[in-house]
Symmetry: C2
Subunit: 263 residues, 2 copies
């Protein structure tokens, strides 16, 4: 049974300012909640419309049994999925020195929650532990982002910081390659790729901000193709652009393929 | 000025049965409508809340000037974007013989409209002209699919047919490779890939149907990685799966990269 105040409090976490004030976020669904329980994320409370069983490692967590009608009142989903967890927002420290020799993603104002969630899932798949976002990028604890990560949010650290200053700091750390996905870049499949470095992905419609371009050391381009498998040189008869998450996946895959084939 | 009947008719096209009965679909937004006007799709009528200008090639199309409040009443978008077009559903003939020597996608019950739209955009980017879908796959003229294609819908032919019969027909055409994305497949980066063939992508949660597995000639797997760039052999500490559209993009990119590097 949920009190009015509990319903009000949980629903208040749908807003970023309340999540930040409380240091809490909401995750929903058996799969994501199970993954969070096995991760470093601290789960504070679980609301479940079924008989949700915790493993012995999690007996200290408070599980509140509620009705399905009550779950609907606190859920962000169109079809609530049995369980809703209140979790602590972890505090990640961004240390440029710790990123040297790693492959990381830099997101320049990704605005669509589904895109950010999908990019976090891609990072997790390709073993990328850190994503550095511009302050204007959609917040990672937005319920739509949390759901789109399918649990990968527990394994990837997402940082927010002004990117020009961050890229400058990274440059000072030494020979860090900074790759940018740009239409006038070198062909992804043929250009030299290092095992580590930063991959900058631009905004869905505007691309990479002009102020960040001076920091890009390597411009890369995903070629597009004609039906005969040749590179399409004109964009008149083919797609103008790839979705930001799709571009991220193609680029991450190629970085990992190269590193794997070289080792 | 829109009549009540016009509003009713346009809104009726939000339902698949009405789209099929009328042979019409709706596309919205300047970018997509402009692309459709330059494609083989027949645009029957345009409703615009601004002074929409047609090129001399399209002077025969009826443009109805409407108010923004009227556009809101007929739009499927949260933020209607100036223009809405009523278009004829093209009739594509599926001829297995015509697919030999081409790279095509086969979708086994993709259910999310955003995923299908994104997959059509990926196909367009990588020069794939035909997508063959199971009858249970979301309908391509669903407004959410049309919008997610960003115009690529005018350049990619999407067919619906029972897949077991189709794959059997393709087998009879000769030595057509049928690739399936499966967890126990050969590593994508190392396995042999032909220039042409079918790539079967499974349902978002269930994967490829058991009844289609006997037709798969080549099982392929996208490896996932640890932070050190090595392949992750256990799935316990990494993402369990990639989104269907993301998997499609990684596989299409690798097929085109191989063909380009071989030529």
């Amino acid at each position: 049974m949920l009190s009015k105040n509990q319903v009000k409090f949980i629903n208040s976490l749908k807003l970023k300012k309340n999540r930040e004030a409380e240091g809490l976020f909401v995750a929903e669904g058996i799969k994501i909640v199970n993954e969070l329980l096995h991760s470093g994320i601290i789960v504070k409370q679980i609301y479940s419309s079924r008989n949700y069983q915790l493993s012995i490692f999690n007996y200290h967590i408070d599980v509140v049994r509620i009705k399905e009608s009550e779950l609907k009142r606190i859920s962000s989903l169109n079809s609530p999925n049995e369980v809703l967890a209140i979790c602590e927002i972890p505090s990640h420290t961004l240390s440029p020195a710790a990123l040297i020799n790693k492959l990381c993603l830099v997101l320049d104002t990704i605005q669509d929650p589904g895109n950010l969630g999908t990019i976090i899932r891609i990072a997790d798949w390709f073993g990328i532990e850190h994503i550095i976002c511009s302050p204007e990028t959609v917040e990672v604890y937005n319920p739509k982002v949390v759901q789109a990560t399918m649990g990968s949010i527990s394994r990837v650290q997402v940082h927010y910081t002004p990117l020009a200053g961050f890229l400058e700091d990274m440059n000072k750390q030494g020979s860090c390659r900074i790759y940018g996905a740009l239409l006038d870049g070198e062909e992804l499949y043929k250009t030299t790729l290092s095992d580590s470095g930063l991959i900058v992905i631009g905004n869905e419609s505007k691309g990479i901000s002009p102020e960040l371009l001076p920091f890009i050391t390597d411009k890369i381009r995903i070629p597009h193709f004609t039906p005969s498998g040749k590179e399409a040189l004109s964009s008149i008869t083919t797609a103008e652009s790839l979705n930001a998450a799709i571009a991220t996946s193609v680029i991450c895959s190629e970085f990992r393929r190269r590193a794997a084939s070289a080792s």
